[in-house]
Symmetry: C2
Subunit: 581 residues, 2 copies
């Protein structure tokens, strides 16, 4: 057996920011070298950020990514880090792709590179290209065909990318044939409620199948609708956890490994079981001198609601920051949705960049204003009040309007006020709708649905209440002021767009509604199955109709952090014109 | 040789309307039988409409499609049409798909069925699943594996679907081995400027390769952002055109064919060249009695601008109709964009369901109102005038606002007025922005970009002028009143959101801008290539920055008919957070 100190850099790149991302790699490589690591590994496509979507089809972008990766190798050497083998993900190109109708333009690849001594020593690409849920990789990439195995200080490490770990067969199934002692996996694996357990089980299983220790390094941070949660993992060849990274935070995870020394250098060849070519590269044969290993760090698991809440905070923080906004603005109604959104914004950015606007109308109850003011005091955010009456009146004098059109009018005056203040003062507008509203279309286009980012759009209303209660309890536990007024949590929800209006006038109780919506939207059950599952038949018909007809509104809704297995953003794509329901 | 009268039904289904679509099939099958056809062929996925997007992953929808297809076979027989072999596209299921991680849920297939004597006699699925541009089929479908060959009145017809014709290899390359005399191709091929020539060339080439006559039947009509243009084609085995359907119109294309009679019934088997299994079905061995063939109809080609304009009218008409709106509303500024949009709406729906709103502000010039009024007179549409001053004033009294925020405020008051009238009166709001605006972000979120459908969003400003001139000339040619006031075409464009504003204050001349945008957006050239192509370097930098930063606005823009190779809807998918430019 031979020792190897491996560092995994769980970092937060930004799509398109090649220079900034390479700067992150240099910084973490330096920290890894400082910690005495013999190998440092970065996430999937760290050079470009992930996912790049149609940027992959732009030849100039692919060329810039390849150029940046070569420059990065040189820069690491220039900064005295050239002896540390550094594995990064980048956007590459399949140089020998035969032209074929329908092949992604320029034959881009989701690739990895091993940088050493100022040069790119190994290049390889992802085999399995996920094209489901939030992923569209079959649209963008040409698959890889080989498994790279790199000898570092006398031990063999195989290198693969993300989906290759999830699929049966392919390069991971080739690792045992290749006789590698370590399997390194670069990931850009988005957060999904409960996915952490799935990942750990998978890492353990694949390590045992491969007969190799397994190092799983993941991205952190928000990118548009995706939130990456880190949770990098190292297991030994028996599947025992050696180290585990924190959730949602950048970290350098340093792990001391004991790995088998292959008896003699293996020739290049083709794996018997998969037919995949094994590409071997020797960086160094000499084992590292014996040293005292340190135990790996194993981050504590997060409880469920903490995990979800942190995902929302992370998504919000990074969307604001990566889009170069310095502040946010949102409407505060005194209700639970805007209260929770404000708490998330304050946790993401601190109170100073958070601007609230109270926009009471003739239908606003007294407690609404009082609850909103109480929230402002608790969270110490900026606030102003603009009564919407005069603007609503001006519209009502110009055009005859009543019923739902009059309700929408008020919501749109508020949306327009927020957009005007955004344009005038430079804040990003946060939209405060929840997933139950999005699902049923219980919102006004260009009204309460206006804005740039919607922190709770993937949270059912029942989850919104749970998160608010959890956040307040968390504050109490820490001896801080609970950020959300108790009355905002306990009062019955209302849009307050007509006298004495309650959500329950138009919708069933949220506990009933959310259970049905989750079966319909989350699990994709059909009408018959929903009724068989115990949902009321009349309600099923009504909710299916509402949900399918709200597709246009959902398309126009701002992006927000995805937390559930199925949200309304990238992974549920329905036609607008649809006469199915 | 044997005779065969084949009918191709170039029809317009609606996504999700299984009952309505099957009704269309019955109607056209009856017409085909009435015309003495021996075989009738419908487009790709005619039973469900196309594209169904994530509906394909809903098990209940797949089951409903399969059920509807079996019922359709029975109904055709019940209505006395059971002896006419009828080929339809439908959403099927791969019954023997092995479960595999990442496989589309329920293993749906883009399938075809041959209906005969009350039963589904043949089922087959598309092999090549396009996953580029507007297509996402690899996300939704499991590929087919066999080539069906059906003997009808003693001649052999091979049946394939759309992309299988475009790709080298696969089932089309198997047709010659199969010895089929006729290759039938079911299509859902969206309109794209100049694609008709490409299609004809392809049909001719494939017919010669296969040594078989080729019948290409395509969908017509609009579905969300796609417009299908028909243009169904029949060529003989030498690639000579025997018949060609009209563009953008439903039609039954009846063609008399002379086809080779295979010497003896071929066994089932595997093609030597492709390894694809050939599935043979005999419906009838007896040739049809000799009859006098009629020459096929060959539709006249359309001129370029007529084709583009008709695509916009078709998309608009079907989006309104398929989403069950009875009328449309739009703001008329007196400028060219809203004038052309009104003309398209009037051509799509007639003047009665078209409602115009003139919304002058303090910055509106006199000619603006006069030009808008002149348009209303020419097109005889409904119109009203609502001055926006009082509403703008109400906002300006509530919040301090100047500069761009004040310009956006006016645009949003107009957007809100249209939405309010839409909610109150039930009209669909038509959005009047053009592609040059979308590309550069020269529009106001929730202002002029508000609405439900945007007829000219895929037309560069220079094309907008061309289309307006073409439409007026066309009217003159027909002895009708040109619908668009000459002054709306000839005056310099202005947003009229501040005194004496002209588009050229913020943007270069459209002839310069559109050429650059088309190279950047349409051809995806990078900075260096754009400059090498002769575009001004400073302008290139400015336009790239504008174009990439406008991605968020484009995401929120309503859908509109796609007419160019690359639009901003389904086939250009960029991240919002992108620091590349």
């Amino acid at each position: 057996m031979a020792q190897l100190r491996m560092a995994m850099a769980q970092v937060n790149p930004t799509v398109g920011d090649l220079e900034g991302n390479c700067g992150i790699v240099v910084e973490y490589a330096r920290r890894a070298a400082g910690a005495g690591a013999h190998l440092v590994v970065f996430p999937e496509m760290v050079v470009t950020g992930y996912p790049v979507e149609d940027l992959a089809l732009r030849k100039s972008f692919v060329a810039a990514s390849i150029e940046a990766t070569h420059r990065l190798a040189e820069r690491l050497a220039d900064e005295g880090l050239g002896e540390l083998p550094t594995v990064v993900g980048f956007l590459g190109r399949c140089e020998d792709a035969e032209p074929r109708f329908g092949q992604p333009a320029g034959a881009p690849q989701n690739a990895l590179a091993l940088l050493h001594q100022g040069r790119v020593k190994v290049v390889s690409a992802k085999h399995h290209l996920p094209n489901y849920g939030v992923f569209d990789e079959f649209r963008y990439f040409v698959p890889g065909r080989t498994l790279p195995v790199v000898r570092v200080h006398g031990v063999d490490a195989a290198l693969v990318i993300c989906e290759d770990l999830w699929q049966e067969g392919g390069p991971v199934a080739t690792v045992r044939d290749a006789g590698a002692g370590l399997l390194v996996v670069l990931n850009g694996s988005p957060y999904e409620h409960d996915k952490d357990d799935e990942r750990l089980d998978l890492c353990r299983r694949r390590a045992r199948e491969a007969g190799a220790a397994l190092a799983y390094v993941n991205t952190v941070g928000g990118q548009d609708e995706l939130v990456f949660d880190g949770d990098s993992i190292v297991v030994d060849a028996e599947g025992e956890v050696l180290a585990r990274g924190p959730r949602f935070e950048e970290a350098l995870l340093v792990t001391d490994l004991e790995l088998p020394v292959p008896s003699e250098p293996e020739p290049r060849g083709t794996a018997a079981t998969t037919g995949i070519g094994i590409e071997r590269t020797v960086l160094s044969e000499e084992p590292v001198p014996a040293y005292d290993p340190r135990p790996g760090e194993i981050a504590q698991p997060m409880e469920d609601l903490a995990e979800v809440y942190t995902a929302l905070v992370t998504g919000t923080r990074d969307y604001v920051r990566k889009n170069r906004f310095g502040s946010v603005i949102l409407g505060l109604s005194g209700g639970i949705d805007s209260a929770l959104t404000a708490a998330i914004a304050t946790d993401a950015l601190g109170p100073d960049p958070v601007h609230a606007v109270l926009m009471p109308s003739r239908h606003s109850s007294e407690h609404s204003v009082a609850d909103a003011e109480e929230l402002v005091r608790r969270q110490r955010i900026n606030a102003r009040t603009v009564a919407v009456g005069p603007m609503v009146d001006a519209f009502e004098e110009a055009v005859a309007v009543d019923g739902l059109a009059a309700e929408n009018l008020q919501a749109r005056v508020r949306g327009q006020l927020l957009m005007t203040l955004s344009n005038q003062e430079g804040h990003l507008v946060l939209t405060t709708g929840n997933k139950s509203e999005l699902a049923t279309g219980y919102s006004t286009l260009y009204g309460d649905s206006a804005g740039g980012y919607a922190p709770i759009k993937d949270a059912w209303k029942t989850l919104v209440w749970e998160l608010a209660r959890w956040r307040n309890a968390e504050a109490a536990r820490r001896g801080e002021t609970p950020p959300i007024p108790e009355n905002s949590i306990s009062k019955p929800p209302s849009a307050e767009l007509r006298p004495d209006q309650l959500d329950t006038d138009s919708l069933p109780d949220y506990s009933v509604l959310d259970a049905l919506l989750d079966d319909y939207v989350g699990t994709d059950l059909g009408r018959t199955e929903l009724i068989a599952a115990g949902h009321d038949a009349e309600l099923v018909d009504r909710v299916i109709r509402l949900a399918d007809r709200a597709e246009y509104k959902r398309r126009q809704y701002p992006p927000g952090p995805k937390i559930s297995k199925r949200n309304f953003g990238r992974d549920r794509r329905l036609p607008i014109t649809n006469r199915w329901s």
